[in-house]
Each structure stands twice: as C-alpha cells, then as structure tokens.
C-alpha cells in the first residue's frame, strides 16, 4: 500500500509541476528548442544541478546504480529527440497535456503506447541488445 501511495503522490506532484512550468505548452517547448526561452532551459539546469548535489549526498552511504551505455542509447535518443520536437511531448508530457484538456494529445499518447509496445513485443528480441527498463537499474 505504501508503494501505491508514493507513486500516486509523486505522479500528481510531477504532473502539476510540469503543467505549471509551461513544459506542456507546445509554443513554450518550441521556443526552448530554438533557444529563445532561457527560463525554460534554466528549469532543467536548476533541477539537474540540485539533483547532482542531492545524489552526491545520498550516494555517500549507498552507491547509486548507473545506467549502462548500450547499442541503442544514441540511436534511440535521436529518435526520441525528433519525436519530442514534432509533438512537443516526452513520455510524461503527453499525459499531462491530456489532463489539461488538450484532446489532440490523445494521438500522442496512442503513438507512445504503440511505440513502446512495438519495441518491447516485436523487436527487442530481433535487436539483440537489452536496454533495460528505466527506473529498475
């Protein structure tokens, strides 16, 4: 039950934050990608900076596991970058947009579901490399 509570809490907090940061707004994301929206860039910079300090403190006691570089890291990231620029959405943003009432985001959500399904079901054995599941390393 404790696990469900935390997943609910952090999901709600994250969705609210992403929405209030403007990260779900296509015009905002587009202006970030043409480097005309410095405040939005600072959102990422500050979050990553604070996390660096936080994880440094946390990993003094327990070593935190790290993701491994695989054959898919660069190719997958290029695909993701293109998709993000086209839709303005990453795997969480599409859902947050839907919650905000942006009906068109349903198409993005359906696409993400299809993409994940296609990778996991049809090709993961054909590609012959295991990229792991994010968050379980």
């Amino acid at each position: 039950m404790r696990i469900y509570f935390y997943y609910s809490l952090f999901g709600l907090a994250m969705g609210t934050t992403l929405s209030m940061a403007g990260l779900t707004d296509y015009a905002q994301i587009h202006s970030l990608f043409i480097l005309e929206n410095i405040p939005l860039l600072l959102v990422f910079a500050l979050a990553i900076g604070m996390n660096m300090v936080g994880f440094m403190i946390l990993s003094r006691k327990n070593k935190t596991p790290k993701k491994q570089l695989t054959k898919g890291t660069i190719g997958g990231s290029v695909l993701f970058g293109l998709g993000w620029a086209l839709t303005g959405a990453c795997p969480s943003i599409a859902l947050v947009q839907l919650g905000e009432g942006k009906i068109a985001a349903l198409a993005t959500v359906a696409g993400i579901l299809a993409g994940v399904w296609f990778y996991r079901r049809a090709t993961s054995s054909a590609l012959k490399f295991d990229t792991g599941i994010c968050g379980e390393e």
Binding site: T16, Y26, P39, W84, I112
Partner: protein, 211 residues
C-alpha cells in the same frame, strides 16, 4: 509567460520530486520505464507464478541455485570447491539470505497509477493556472505549423511512436536519463541527454529558420 510559475520554483520542485522519489522508493525516477512495465504487465504474473514455490519454501531456492551452479561449472568442480570450504576452519563466512527471493520490483499497477496521476496532475496544474478547458488542438503555434485536421493528428501519432520506441531503445527519457541519470553522472545518461536535446534543437532550428 506570467501564467507559468518562475523557473526557480518549478526547477526546484522537479529536483525535490526526483530526490524524494529516490529516497521513498529506492529506485530512480523514470517515466519511460513505467510505460514499459505497463505494456509488459503479463510478465509480472509469469514472474509471480515462477517464484511462488520459492516464496513458500526458501530451501527450494538454495537447491535450485545449486542445480544451476552444477550445470554451469560441472559437478566435480563444485564438489571440490565445497570440500575445500568445509576442510578445517571455514574462512569464508556464509552470509544468510537476508533479502527476499524476488528483487525489489514494484507491481505494474503502481506504474499504471503513476501515469494516471500524471494526467490528474495536468488537470490540477491547468486548474491552478485558470486554464482548465477542453481544447481540440495543442495551441495556435502548433496549428500554424501542422494544421488542425486529421493530418496533424497523424503527425502526433507518428511523433508519439518515435518518442515511445526511441525512449525504450535508449533505455530512458527526460526523467530517467535527464533528471536522474545525468545528475548521477552516468556516462550513458549524459550522452543520451545531450543527444535527445541536441536532436530536438537541431530539428526545431532547421524547421524554424529553413522551413
């Protein structure tokens, strides 16, 4: 712009969420992983069924481990090793199995609730900004660039496939590689983050200035 919270509030909030998630759940935040666990929901059942006899009787687990070891190294080597260990003083202390048989895995339903709460969070955020209403498109700029008909929806769908497939292939997305991987200085995450941000910037720049 002023409808959104200042960058330092939301940046700090995202950091607190990443760190809080790690402290509370002992695993890094990663939204693309939640998608994967939901798509692979049937695996949860298979793992649970496979583990059931071992959960009931931990001794079975030791036997299974031994059987696998013998299969891997051959009975002679294993026997030799076991005999050498029990000769005289046992210098290698045997640690008891303290952790449960199954690794620390959250059920797929927890991941489903996580994604559903992201939707609810969007609703709450839009409400707090005073902008909660049904909109058919992603806004004026998106409509200007891609139109508003079935064509633009097809574009979103194919873009979504790229996001879904790409993040699985790369082993993470903005949250997993960007927020939690990059800041733990994992080389793979630094490479991934630079690649997906770089690609998005290059593509958008090209579309903006050339298109």
């Amino acid at each position: 712009m002023d409808v959104y919270l200042p960058w330092w509030v939301t940046g700090a909030a995202l950091s607190i969420i990443t760190l809080g998630f790690y402290i509370a759940l002992r695993r890094p935040l990663g939204v693309s992983g939640s998608w994967a666990r939901i798509v692979l929901w049937k695996n949860d059942k298979a793992i649970k069924e496979a583990e059931a006899p071992f959960q009931d009787n931990p001794k079975l687990f030791e036997d299974a481990l031994m059987a696998a070891t013998i299969e891997e190294f051959g009975q002679e080597t294993v026997l030799e090793y076991m005999q050498s260990r029990h000769k005289g003083n046992d210098t290698v202390p045997v640690k008891p199995l303290t952790r449960s048989v199954s690794p620390n895995r959250s059920p797929w339903t927890a991941h489903l609730i996580f994604l559903l709460m992201l939707i609810l969070g969007g609703m709450l955020g839009a409400y707090l900004r005073g902008d909660l209403n049904i909109q058919p498109t992603l806004g004026e700029l998106h409509t200007n660039l891609f139109g508003s008909g079935i064509g633009s929806l097809m574009m979103l769908f194919f873009g979504g496939i790229m996001v879904g497939f790409g993040t699985q292939m790369a082993g993470g997305c903005t949250s997993g590689h960007g927020l939690s991987g990059f800041s733990r200085l994992a080389p793979a995450s630094i490479i991934a983050t630079i690649t997906f941000f770089g690609t998005a910037i290059a593509f958008s720049m090209a579309a903006h200035y050339l298109g």
